[in-house]
């Protein structure tokens, strides 16, 4: 398949994207000629050192930033248009729950906003079923400050899925959690994704996380940010905790680690 055909079929397509930021009196080159096609219903992780432009790529895909050069296309639309039509479920680094809303009302927040668009999100019954599925039923009327960090992040993820958006953008959603909760959240995310099948662009610092979750891992190098390698993760789905004991998992883990090291030294 040619590059043009792949881009036309892609859910998210970055085409030679460059981005600079102005910091006081100097320009910081955040991304340099980045190209990447994320296929429909694919789970792609972006991994790399701090400041390599992972979150910038996520925000470009979500239409929250504009590229200085190149283009980003989401399901044959501009990101701004996709945003207008509520085609994104966004999961930020911290849960970003509204402290005055209960769990139930936080989950419905993105559906409540910008209501005139055609995407109404999940029905209330489906939202409740999903929340029950991930163990949040006892907390439906709790306020965020009454929940642990892990439960808050569960609500944050449920909120993104409740919109039923075809594209999910996740910016290191588990980085603030302890290691045990973090491992638990990976499989929770896979569980929800297995049912909805959205396209996911996932930013992480964790190599095991990227390998367990993804179909492909895009490794980024820094100064300026660029994709140094894209690694296929050919582990079978559905994936359960046992996958972390397999030889294939450790092989891919090694590949990603080597690619990161290579990107760092180059």
């Amino acid at each position: 398949m040619s590059r043009a055909d792949a881009a036309a079929d892609a859910a998210i397509s970055f085409e030679a994207v460059s981005k600079w930021f102005r910091r006081k009196d100097r320009l910081v080159h955040a991304l340099s000629r980045v190209s990447l096609d994320v296929r429909q219903s694919e789970f792609v992780s972006l991994i790399g050192p701090s400041g390599c432009g992972k979150s910038t790529m996520l925000r470009l895909a979500g239409g929250l930033l504009e590229p200085d050069r190149g283009s980003v296309v989401v399901n044959n639309q501009s990101p701004a248009e996709a945003r207008r039509q509520k085609r994104y479920g966004f999961v930020p680094q911290h849960p970003a729950l509204l402290p005055w809303r209960t769990v139930r009302r936080n989950v419905s927040l993105l559906s409540d906003v910008n209501r005139q668009q055609e995407n109404p999100g999940m029905s209330t019954d489906d939202q409740l079923a999903m929340l029950d599925d991930i163990g949040l039923t006892p907390f439906l009327d709790s306020l965020p400050r009454e929940l642990s960090g892990g439960l808050q992040q569960r609500v944050s993820i449920a909120r993104a899925f409740a919109l039923g958006a075809p594209v999910l953008l996740m910016d290191e959603p588990f980085s603030a959690l302890d290691e045990i909760t973090r491992a638990d959240m990976r499989y929770l995310l896979l569980h929800l994704w297995g049912k909805i099948g959205s396209t996911v662009l996932f930013v992480t610092h964790s190599i095991p996380e990227a390998v367990v979750l993804s179909d492909r891992v895009a490794v980024l190098g820094s100064r300026p940010g660029r994709i140094t390698q894209v690694i296929d993760v050919s582990l079978p789905r559905p994936r359960h905790a046992g996958v972390e004991d397999s030889d294939d998992y450790h092989r891919v883990l090694g590949e990603v680690r080597a690619a990161l090291r290579q990107g760092w030294s180059s």
Partner: protein, 299 residues
Amino acid sequence: MVELTGWTASPVPGPPDPEGGTDPGLDPEFGVEEPPEAPRRPIRRAALLVAPFAGLAAFFVGWEIYVLVRNLRPLTLPLPSDVIIHVVENPGFYSRNGLVTIQEAFWGFWIAFFAALFVATWMAHSQFVERATMPVIVLMQSTPVAVLVPIFLLWFGFSPWPKILTAMLFAWVPFVANALIGLRSIDSETHELLRSVNASRWEIYWRLRIPHSLPYLFAAGRICVGLALVGAVVGEFFNSREGLGNAARVAQSRLLVDQLWGSVFVLAFIGVAFVLLLIAVERRVLRWHSSQDSDHRGL
């Protein structure tokens, strides 16, 4: 669009049941441990409830004893019990004048609140407006408001407006400053989250900025209740035939010590009553805010 045709549940590891369901992974040898009983501290609770009244009583008893021991003349410092008896014996006079002052302070307070919210909203959304407005606010803050009362008199005569405007000017700077901080200091990730679904400015304002600024506005409100009362009284000092400020001014010129101190007591009572009312509303509205945790709460 992703197909959403009903959610079918399937097991996924969840958090522990807060109702105390048995965890299947629990070692049966240990079983389910009974939670400890919530500590009962009736004396501590009662003490906390009584504390404000005890503090006030101690203050007045101390005052009473001091006047008696030093044998002070009422003109120097009256017995608080005498002042209270005087107020209780003249309910019509104090309620009539108190109501006038309350009305002036009330309208001054709310006009200050809405004017401050309006200005702070403009400032929070535009750096240009903020830069253009800030010098005017500093100018208003630095000008002694009392000096403006004669000007208001020229404009509005003996109507309630000079007093209301004075009360408003006393109260509005704390409201503007707090509203601006509250509207501005929203969480950037939550802001981004709402932008990701193309929320309009109005939606971000209504769903995020306003609720976020409520704790700041309540904090300002507590200060501004007192300031609005001060403003109303200052206005009455200059031109009024009624109100507690006028009652105190007349009492001072005719050496009516009981009436002078009676006006002070009633003004203090009104201030405390409105602050307590505001705190009660705040506790209901800000149930979600950490300031309402019993561990962090003072009054």
